[in-house]
Each structure stands twice: as C-alpha cells, then as structure tokens.
Symmetry: C2
Subunit: 454 residues, 2 copies
C-alpha cells in the first residue's frame, strides 16, 4: 500500500476493503490494514473518522487491536460508546481488556459506559483481566481456550471446537486443556498429538505421557512466563489461579510482543528514558520524561564539576590538565557502559545469576584492568609527546588504570546489587555509573597531578 | 537443582537421569538438564567428561542443542567423532547444522570427519544449511516438516505423521504444508483447521480459504521472517527456494531466540561492544573486542581535547571554564543518547521508517531544544551564583542550547542516515554522536567564553 499517499486514495481503498469484507472476500491481514488506517489518521482526521464510522464492528475489532495504544485511547472521541461496545464484544478477551484499559486512561467515564453496554459475561472477564497488576501473567492472558474434561469424548469435543471456531469464539488453538469436574487443571495435549488418536476415544484413554503440564499461576511475574516459553519452546501456556483452576492461557505470539517490550524497556532505561512515555504521541509528555533524567544527569555533572573545582589552583598552574582531563573520564564512562550493559543483559537473559557475582566481577575487573594498562600506555605516550612533560604522561597513565579499574568493578557491581535488592538493574544504573567514572576520573587525574607535578 | 553444588552430587544426579532415560522415565526438560550439565562443566572437567561419555546419544542430542555455542565448539575435544556423528544424526537439522558449524569454528578437521560419518542425506542437508549466509532465513530453517500432496488422503497423511513422530523424526508440528507434484509450495493448513475435517477427505477437498500461504524465500533477510511472525502472529513459516519449492520451515520458538539475539546485538552495539564476542568464554577475546571500541573512543576523546587545547589561553585566564565545561558536553551526550536510542529502536521495530525522517528530526529537535532552554536557565543561574560572573551564566546557557540542539538533530540524523545507507544504525552511532556533542559542547562553550568574557 506504499503507493497510496493521499487521503482520497486511502479512503477509497478502505471503502473497497469494507465492501470486500462484507462479501467475505477481504484477504488483507488486519495488521496491514492497521498500518494503512494509521497513515490515513496522520493525513486527515476527517477521512479517518469517516472510515472508522463506516467500518463493520467485526472488521474494526481485528484492526483496532493491531493499532498503537494512543490510537486506542482516543477512539472514544471518534466512535459512539455503543459501537465501541460492539467492537469490544468481537475481540478476544486480552485485546478487549487492553482496549478498555487504554480508553480509561483518556476518559474513565467513557470506559465505564462502554463496559456497562457489554453483556455480563464479557464485562466480568474484562474487569477481572484489568484488575491484575501490569506485570503479572494474568494481565496478559486471554480467557478463550479449548477446554475439555477427562471423561469427554474426543470427537464430541472437536465438534464443539468446530462450532466455536465458526462463531469466531476461538482461534489460535494449539492444545486441548484438560480439567477435572472442579475446573482444576490436569494437563494439556497438543493438537499434533491429539490428531493422531482415534476420535472415538475419551481423553482419559490417552496415555498420560502425552500430556504436558506446563502452567503458571496468574499472579506470577510475566517474566516467569516468558522464561518458560523461551526455555521450553511452548506454543501456549495454561494460566491457573491460586487454587489451580484453569482461568486462561497465553499464546506464543503474545510472548513475541512481550519480549520486545521488555527489551525496549531495558534499552530505554539504560539510555535514560522510558518506554511508556516514548510511546505517547504528545511531545510534551515525551520531553517531560526525558527532562527528568537529564535533570538527574545535571546533578551528577555538577558533582563532577565540584571535584574539578577542588583543583582549580592546579589547573591554573598547568592548563594542559584541563585539556587532557575529559579523556580519562570519557574512557572510564565507555568501559563502564560496556560492562554495565553486558551484565544487565546477561542477567535479564538468565545467563548469569547472583551466584555468579564473584565470577562476573572478577571477569569484568580483569578485562577492564588489562584494557586500562593498554590505554594507559597509549595515552601516556601521547600526553608526553603532546606537552613534552614526562610526568604528565605518568599521571594520566596511572589515573587511566585507576578509572578503568573502577569502571569494570562498578559496572558489574551496580547492576548486580540493584538486582539483588529487587530493583530493575537497567533503570538509573547508567547515571550512577557515570557519576562514579567521572568523579574517580577527575579526582584521580587532578589529585595525582597535584601530588606529582606541583 | 539449586541444591546440587558438588561435582559428586551432580555426577550422581546425571547417572540417575541416564538410568531414568533408558527406562523411558526421564521427566526433566532438556533445557534444565543443559543448565545442570553446564554447572558440572564449570566445577569439574573430569566429571563433565565422564558424564558426557556415559550419556546416550539421543539424550545428549536434546541437551547439547540447549547449550551455549562455546560448549558446542569444544565438544569434539570431549567425545569421539563417531559419538558426535551419532548425536548429530539424532538432532533436528537446524540444531545439527548449528552444532557442526560451531565445531568447525574450533576444529575444522573434526567437523569434516564428523560430517563424513553421517549418512548422505543428513550430510547433504547440514552442508546446505551451513552454506547460507548468517543473516538469511535459510540459515535458521529446519528441513523437518509435515509435507502433504493435494491429492493425498488426510487419514493416510496422518498415519505417516504418527509414524514419523514415533520415530522422533518430526516434532513441533503446527501445519500440514501442501505441495504440488513438483514440490512447489501451494499453502499451509493449520492442525486446528485440519482436525475439524473428515479424515476420509483428500487435501484438495478442503476449501481453499482454509489455506494460508505465508512463505519466505530462503535467501531473504531473517529480519523479514521475524517481521512476518510478529505482524501476522504465525506459528511456523514455510521456507521456499527461488523456484518456490518447499525447502524447510522456521517455527515460532526459533523466532523468540532470534528476537532476543537481534535485541542483544542492538543493545551491545549501542554500548560499544559486540554480541558475538561477548558470548565467548575467553576473556582475551571479549577484552580484545572491547578494546577495539575503546580505541575508537580514545581517538574521539583526543579530538575533543584538541578542541579544548585551542582555548588554553582562555582557560588559563578563567579557570572556572575548566570547571564548568564538562557539564555542557555531558548534557549533550545524554540528550543525544536518548534521541539516538529511541530512533534506533523505533526503526528496528518498524514503528518509524525513512519516509518519516522529517517528522522524527522535527520532533527530536523540538524536544531537545525545549529541554535545552530549561537546563540552560538552570545551569546559567547556578554558574552565576557559583562564580559570581553574570556573563559566565550567559555563556554556559547559550552553549547548552546549542549543544542540546545538536544532540537532538544528530541523535536523529545519524541513525536515519546510516539505515538509509544500508548500515546497521546501532553500530558505531554512539561514538559518532558523542564526538559531535563533545566537540560542539566544548567548542561552543569555550568559543563563546573567548568572545564574550575576554
């Protein structure tokens, strides 16, 4: 659709799509339609509203859940509450609860009105899903799944599945999840196993070793679920409540998104910003969040300046020190960032744990120290040749070794310590680290210069 | 297994596992066994070798493919070529080709010997998979899949599937991939659809709209495949050659790993290091790669020092400039990193594209400029109060605005430009950016000071 540039072309394109959809003949994937609708929204509010209003609810349900949060947030300004309720009722429960959550961010009242127009069952499910904390497994689950009883006949259950699929109630089915008469979770059987059994059998006739029993309690951290998916190569994971009753499932495609979200958060945190605010459309909100971190950085930069200020007399008497001093700080900052980033990432991927702390710190200190000696030699020679003062070369070399040692040590210790204290090691650790490498860099360089050169 | 600390305990544990496995009674997931085997390898080379030698090939095949590359690389030093060939023959083709690739990194001759001991079919498949470039879809595929012909009977095909599953030839099946008599790919049908049809039908009797036709050519960039998985929520993707012949598939669990690999690479590149070398066991290799980037950083730091050196007379006459100058550079570096990171990430996630370049640059410049004015005011007042020189406050304020403007502008332009030129925008962009913010920061601050204060 890269050719469609004008709002007229996009509008006509969507009118055709709506026509095709009504004739059961629309072959474009909702994701691609969402991209084009977002494009139309960028160009023309008027045409965007026109198309949104024209769009059948079941088609819009598929498209809307592919659109970014800020578009969902303001959908109540474009469509009537009744239509949004209709759209919501066509969505899977995880998408529906996300939509209502997003709308409530913008207009709590609209969200409540929409909820009140849903049937009791939908309403209850959405309210339950939205009552979970953001970071627990339950917040990401859907309640739609293929549930069967042990004494159920396979063929009967498949007829039920067929009906539910035809009514668009179920999709993306990978397992039959088996429960007892109290809805307690027993295990799952993959369709790839199930399809090989005689459908006249009951589920209880299937040998137990064909069942898998991966499940997670709804209140557990979503990261635990992500780990189960990545370690055990799951397609879907059963979610149970604290009484082991089956309440939902998470499918692998949700996990792709969660992995990318977690990684984005980590990357942004290390760079001193925040994934949630960066997804806002408002430049004010993005800028305000970044200003917060820049403010913290300003304080640490002033702290470094105070350290430099202690040595103003030294600098006055040898201005070459002012010329060279950023080099030591910069090299420390860079070496520290390397260590910090690798440590944070390997902890996040579960490749290293607190037990390995000693080993990691040792490794990082050795690497940093060896590089410290190499660059100490290089910069020592350069400083000597540049300013023709041999002892200046010695001073910068020694302070380079000291600062790269601290870079390696603190680059490893800071995230390990934060993680151990239950704090996300990506958030704020960069600022703490550069404070250390700046202060140590300036202090060691100017302090040694005062001792040795003057 | 967190309690098993000594090598004796771990050795006994694995002897029990081997016993259980032989009795078809091992319920521990290979991933968890791989973790424990890695632990044993860390503690005792001797016990590790003893267990590796004892382990039945089919069990070891499952465990070894969950172990890190560097363990696979040196497995030829632990086991005989014959046993490794045996293990390789039990693996899925993607895991087998990865193992041979890893062994060849360490000992090309051993890899060739092992290949020569495989049967011709296995050997040919592994050689084909390893002939792909690292970053194309074909390099990640497996050749094992459930392939059916249009005129084939569903029940017949399922009997074949059952047999292949019982022989451990097939696993993780989500679709039947349908081909014509020339092996040309026609489409796929999900098991969740297939299970609902009367198994007495032929595939050609299934209505065509139940088929999906997602496929990708083996020579396409793996990132394209990742995008198809994340956009279209696929479970598996058919891989075809340039003549549309079906040659393999990629499954969703591989995509989890690839997403995490891509994200790790991005994160490490931005921090001035490299994901591949960080995965090495040797501190020498890790340190050497980091030294490379530190060397580049040293050059840019010296460049910044040269800029400072231009103004040594100015600093000599007002040493407060030396005290304050790192603040401007540091704030520019931080604001620039925020912009750079967000731009790189949003391009990688496909949220923004080259077409949006103007919009992104505008957004980033506005945010940076507004923050520039805020922090210019703050630092201007602080500098005035600290040194009691009003014009010093004016100088630092103006240079803060200038540097945060460049930070926003170059933080957005550098990655967009690199991406447009086909260069990975995460690699090297941080160093280029901090060179800009250092040089602009020092030059504007000291230059303005020379003009205004002296």
């Amino acid at each position: 659709m890269e050719n469609l540039k004008t709002s007229e072309e996009l509008r006509d394109y969507f009118l055709q799509i709506i026509e095709d959809f009504k004739n059961d003949n629309c072959e474009i994937h909702p994701y691609d339609l969402a991209q084009d609708l977002a494009k139309l929204r960028d160009i023309s509010d008027e045409d965007y509203e026109f198309i949104c209003k024209k769009m059948p609810s079941d088609l819009f349900a598929e498209i809307l859940c592919e659109m970014p949060n800020y578009v969902q947030e303001e959908i109540s300004e474009v469509l009537s509450d009744r239509k949004i309720a209709n759209i919501t009722s066509k969505m899977d429960s995880d998408d529906a609860s996300m939509l209502i959550h997003n709308i409530s961010q913008n207009d709590e009242e609209a969200a409540q009105t929409i909820l009140s127009k849903l049937d009791d069952e939908d309403k209850e499910i959405i309210e339950r899903l939205n009552s979970y904390e953001d970071d627990v497994a339950g917040a990401y689950m859907q309640s739609e799944l293929f549930k069967v009883k042990l004494d159920e006949n396979i063929k009967q259950s498949l007829l039920r599945l067929k009906e539910q699929k035809e009514n668009d109630e179920l999709d993306n089915i990978f397992h039959a999840h088996i429960v007892d008469e109290n809805n307690k979770f027993i295990g799952s059987i993959g369709l790839e196993e199930l399809i090989l059994f005689d459908s006249n059998l009951d589920y209880k006739d299937i040998p137990e070793d064909k069942f898998t029993n991966f499940s997670i309690v709804d209140s557990e951290d979503i990261k635990e679920a992500v780990e189960m998916f990545t370690h055990y190569n799951l397609s879907a994971l059963a979610i149970v409540d604290d009484k082991n009753k089956l309440v939902g499932r998470i499918t692998h495609d949700d996990i792709h998104d969660i992995i990318q979200q977690i990684d984005t958060k980590q990357l942004y945190s290390l760079a001193g910003t925040n994934d949630e605010s960066e997804q806002e459309e408002s430049m004010y909100l993005i800028g305000r969040n970044r200003a917060l971190w820049l403010g913290v950085n300003l304080i640490t930069a002033i702290l470094a300046s105070v350290v430099i200020g202690l040595f103003d007399a030294t600098i006055q008497s040898l201005v070459a020190l002012a010329v060279l001093m950023p080099i030591v700080a910069s090299m420390g900052g860079n070496a520290g960032t390397q260590t910090l980033t690798v440590t944070v990432r390997q902890m996040a991927l579960g490749e290293i744990s607190y037990e390995d702390a000693k080993k990691i710190i040792y490794k990082e200190v050795v690497i940093s120290l060896v590089n410290g000696f190499i660059f100490a030699f290089v910069i020592g020679v350069i400083a000597y040749l540049w300013f023709d003062i041999a002892l200046l070369g010695v001073v910068i070399a020694i302070s380079m070794v000291i600062n790269l040692f601290s870079a390696g040590f603190f680059g490893a210790v800071i995230p390990i310590f934060l993680q151990k204290r239950g704090i996300d090691p990506a958030i704020g650790s960069t600022v703490i680290l550069t404070t250390v490498t700046d202060v140590v860099g300036f202090f060691s360089f100017l302090g040694l210069a005062t001792l040795i050169l003057l």
